[in-house]
């Protein structure tokens, strides 16, 4: 397989295509994980249309929109980082990853404040106000916390991955000739973005 036969290459055969395929297969399981939750959302919404309307009135469209812009922009910076490393500009790639991390952090801070308000209003499952909600509204907030929470965990994991990769670029392990790990982390990051692209209208916009 390795046509450019240095002994090093023969000893350590590298298959970037397989690595990418592996990443995609993992992403498929993620799609089905969130897909299942979206289906639960669809059914509950169908059965409790009015309650879901009331529920989404409680969420701030502005915060949701700002977070959408943060995530879309962070996807851009990851895509630009890949372009940069393909052109051999490692330093620029690291800087772009750092911008991504700042945006991810800003997203999470926003989310923290948003959740905090809900906690203060007692809307978290088990709290005072939550117990008084109708079944439909309770389902709405249940799903809201579950889905945005699970998504938030993915943002944190993606951020940690990108940080490790930035370190790899700094040490020279990830470079113009070998950047599959950055590509795969990028794929993960974009998937997290795509999931948010659906979460945003479903929870914040449709009332």
């Amino acid at each position: 397989m390795s046509s450019e036969a240095g002994t090093h290459d023969q000893l350590f055969h590298r298959d970037d295509y397989a690595k990418k395929m592996g990443m995609w297969l993992f992403l498929f399981t993620e799609v089905l994980l969130f897909g299942g939750l979206f289906i639960v959302y669809a059914v509950y919404r169908f059965k409790n249309h009015e309650a879901f309307h009331e529920g989404s009135e409680e969420l701030s469209t502005l915060i949701g929109t700002i977070n959408t812009v943060f995530l879309l922009t962070s996807s851009l910076t990851v895509a630009l980082a890949i372009t940069a490393i393909q052109k051999g500009r490692s330093k620029r790639a690291i800087n772009l990853i750092m911008v991504t991390l700042v945006l991810a952090f800003a997203f999470l801070v926003n989310k923290y404040f948003e959740w905090n308000v809900k906690f203060e209003h007692g809307l978290f499952p088990g709290m005072e106000h939550y117990k008084m909600l109708s079944n439909g509204e309770a389902q709405f907030f249940n799903l809201y916390f579950l889905m945005t929470g699970l998504h938030g965990i993915h943002v944190i994991v993606g951020g940690i991955l990108l940080l490790i990769i930035a370190e790899g670029i700094k040490r020279g392990n990830i470079n113009q000739g070998n950047y599959i790990y950055l590509e795969n982390a990028g794929l993960y990051w974009h998937l997290v973005d795509v999931i948010w692209i659906y979460l945003f209208p479903l929870f914040y916009l449709i009332t």
């Binding site: 397989m1 498929f28 669809a42 059914v43 996807s75 851009l76 998937l191």
Partner: protein, 94 residues
């Protein structure tokens, strides 16, 4: 194989153009949601979200430049999800 990868470099300009498209679609989806189109509101929001995902998948995730096998796998997973959704709602709607 290890060195001769089919690398396609997406230019920074194209990436930024896609990002601008995504922002415009976000603006549209926020504006459109102000109006009440009844059942169409959900469909409209999902159509715009899917358009945005298509841009992210094609350009940011490089699917447009990947080989046929990978692209068909992605299409297959999407079809599986849509099929589950349709089968489920065929129960609830009728």
């Amino acid at each position: 194989m290890s060195e001769e990868k089919n690398t396609h470099v997406v230019s920074s300009q194209l990436n930024i153009l896609i990002w601008l498209d995504l922002l415009i679609f976000t603006l549209i989806t926020v504006e459109v949601a102000q109006f009440d189109f009844m059942a169409l509101t959900v469909i409209m929001a999902l159509l715009i979200a899917t358009t945005k995902s298509f841009f992210v998948g094609s350009y940011f995730m490089h699917l447009k430049f990947e080989n046929v096998l990978l692209r068909w796998l992605v299409i297959g997973v999407i079809c599986l999800f849509v099929a589950v959704l349709i089968l489920l709602f065929s129960d609830y709607l009728f």
